[in-house]
């Protein structure tokens, strides 16, 4: 269901929209943080936050309120809130818009988040390339400090909160939460074994909550509306997937971009109503629903949910394009919602070349710590290279399954699954196209991924 909202994006595009006066005037800025800090206990904040049904916006979809509730005060150690803005999942371009255009929502979210989990410091981990984002965040922090919203006594409350922007140095893996913590501590960004989970021993060995940047930015809105009311904005509130979120669309659409809508939007609405339809009025061919790690869907795929108890049963036999974009709904159709930014491919796109492009990405970004991922991602790319060159045998094509399946579940972090799942997804959905390369019916020498010349 298409329901556009503008809680997070109202100030987008306004003159000086990223500055404090605009945020206070247009979005009732910092009123919510003031009310929360001065009238609620931290336990009440966590209990209320659970009602918002904010599913983590970074890709895994873990409920934010429940994550907050894992935090227990430690007798000697401080607690930390770490905000993940290492946006780098191919196809994902939403967090950047928030940092550049509405940084105060993030700072206000950090104040409420810190108070809820008992932390006095929030670190926002921004990838280094996003220089404008970092400048806007620091600008917002400075403005909030000058007003006394951040610092030793925010809104007069005796509860110090400080927000710090920290930068990475170019590594996709640092978006994985424990890798991010290692990077924050000044180490190589290699993921850590879990347990201990960050809530027990995270940043600097202290209890830590890691939230995606968009998750934190949604917090002021949720508390402003009342968390239950916020959740009910969603068309799939009954599936514990609430509120509003940013939907991105990119690739072969007429109007790529980021749009704020109530949860429950469908891919069809995202591609045709918001994205303006397919570039050059071509037919839709395939969609990667939420970042390159989420398995690809074909345009003609239909939902298979004959079981009446399945939450997807009412869409049984219908197109996957008409299923609301939700964490559990998309898991039910064999893919994932991920970061909710869809990459659209028009007819004429060669899926083998798309596969090759992504396998190159994963080979480049594997941190190298776990053998199955380090060797497996390179092996997948080697087969992709041979396919495109026209030297891949049928045996080697079949090896793709073995290699991918031997990565799955055998690595410290989810990067392994993030590599294997899209590999297996492409192979399953485009077996014919892959075989055509093996049989020499197609080759990638002159093939291009674009559907038309770049003007």
């Amino acid at each position: 269901m298409l329901k556009r909202t503008n809680y997070l994006t109202k100030v987008y595009g306004m003159p000086n929209g990223w500055q404090l006066p605009t945020y206070e005037r247009e979005s009732r800025g910092y009123e919510t943080a003031r009310r929360v800090l001065t009238t609620m206990t931290s336990e009440q904040v966590v209990a209320e936050a659970k009602k918002a049904n904010i599913r983590g916006r970074g890709g895994a979809g873990f409920p934010m309120g429940i994550k907050w509730s894992f935090m227990r005060p430690h007798p000697t150690k401080p607690a930390y809130l770490v905000v993940n803005a290492d946006e780098g999942e191919p196809g994902t371009h939403k967090d950047r818009t928030l940092m550049e255009q509405n940084p105060h929502a993030i700072v206000e979210g950090c104040i409420i988040g810190c108070y809820a989990i008992g932390s006095h410091t929030a670190y926002i981990f921004v990838r280094d390339e996003l220089h404008l984002s970092k400048a806007r965040l620091w600008g917002a922090i400075k403005e909030a400090k000058a007003k006394g919203y951040l610092g030793p006594r925010p809104f007069g409350k005796n509860y110090a909160v400080d927000v710090v922007v920290h930068t990475g140095a170019g590594a996709y893996i640092c978006g994985e939460e424990t890798s991010l913590l290692n990077s924050l501590e000044g180490r190589r960004g290699e993921p850590r074994l879990k347990p201990p989970f960050p809530a027990q021993a995270g940043a600097f060995g202290c209890p830590t909550t890691v939230n995606n940047l968009e998750t934190i930015a949604a917090v002021p809105t949720a508390f402003m509306l009342g968390c239950e009311e916020f959740s009910k904005l969603s068309a799939i509130h009954h599936l514990n997937d609430g509120g509003v979120r940013l939907f991105g669309v990119n690739g072969h659409v007429k109007k790529p971009g980021v749009f704020e809508c109530a949860v429950g939007l469908t891919l069809r609405e995202l591609i045709y109503d918001l994205g303006g339809g397919i570039k050059d009025d071509k037919e839709l061919f395939a969609i990667i629903p939420g970042g390159s790690s989420t398995p690809v869907l074909r345009a003609e795929d239909v939902v298979h949910a004959p079981d009446e108890k399945s939450p997807l049963h009412s869409w049984h036999g219908k197109s996957v394009l008409d299923v609301p974009l939700g964490v559990d709904t998309f898991r039910g159709i064999g893919t994932m919602l991920g970061t909710c930014c869809a990459t659209v491919m028009a007819e004429g796109t060669d899926p083998v070349l798309a596969f090759h492009n992504l396998m190159r990405f994963y080979r480049h970004e594997s941190c190298g710590q776990c053998t199955p991922c380090r060797e497996g991602s390179a092996w997948l790319f080697r087969i992709a290279e041979k396919l495109v060159e026209g030297t891949c045998s049928m045996d080697e094509l079949n090896q793709l399954h073995d290699v991918a399946n031997n990565i799955m579940g055998n690595t410290i972090c989810a990067f392994g699954e993030g590599t294997a799942m899209p590999a297996l997804g492409f192979l399953k959905k485009f077996r014919k196209e892959f075989e055509a390369y093996v049989k020499g019916e197609r080759h990638g020498k002159d093939a291009r991924l674009t559907t038309g010349p770049l003007s």
């Binding site: 401080p78 946006e87 780098g88 999942e89 191919p90 196809g91 994902t92 371009h93 967090d95 950047r96 990838r127 280094d128 390339e129 996003l130 220089h131 404008l132 710090v164 920290h166 930068t167 990475g168 140095a169 170019g170 590594a171 996709y172 990077s183 924050l184 501590e185 000044g186 180490r187 190589r188 960004g189 290699e190 600097f204 991105g248 669309v249 990119n250 690739g251 072969h252 790529p256 971009g257 980021v258 990667i288 390159s292 930014c341 990459t343 491919m345 796109t349 798309a354 492009n357 992504l358 990405f361 480049h364 970004e365 941190c367 991924l449 674009t450 559907t451 010349p453 770049l454 003007s455």
Partner: protein
């Protein structure tokens, strides 16, 4: 020649150190400051950072070699990064990269003979909605056309 941060950047590092409970946490920010000054991370830079932050040189070297943004050898005055991951590739990143190579007369990873421009490829820079794009030093250029690429490269060559 031994390396040291200039006084202005060194004061900035002092301020950065106040943000964290450990000195080690300032390792990546310190390396960024050094690279801004020196252009790349030489063994001398590693030695300096290790002394300044009380870290073993091997730790600093390990960090430098992990992250792609730390240059382990000298680079051109300007760095051009063309994003080539799928969403950009679908919108013509291949043409942008090919065009840059032709105009500059170098391949990706190489530096022009006058030392002005290093051409590189990048994996996803979070600009999928404004593809194709490239990063020039610290600035993003989005929704590129080949004419705009020409303008950008001409400016860099003159500057």
């Amino acid at each position: 020649m031994p390396f040291a941060l200039n006084p202005e950047r060194d004061r900035e590092l002092d301020e950065i150190l106040t943000r964290y409970p450990t000195k080690m946490a300032a390792c990546i920010p310190a390396l960024h400051l050094c690279q801004d000054q020196n252009g790349w991370i030489s063994d001398e830079v590693i030695a300096w950072v290790s002394g300044r932050l009380d870290l073993p040189p091997a730790h600093v070297k390990g960090v430098v070699t992990f992250y792609t943004l730390f240059n382990q050898e000298p680079v051109g005055k300007h760095q051009v990064w063309v994003c080539r991951t799928l969403p950009c590739a679908l919108r013509g990143a291949g043409d942008v990269l090919g065009h840059c190579q032709k105009r500059l007369g170098i391949k990706e990873g190489e530096t022009t003979a006058d030392g002005k421009i290093t051409l590189r490829t990048a994996e996803c820079l979070a600009s999928c909605g404004t593809a194709p794009m490239m990063q020039v030093d610290k600035e993003y250029h989005e929704n590129l056309t080949l004419e705009e690429v020409d303008k950008i490269l001409d400016k860099l060559r003159q500057g």
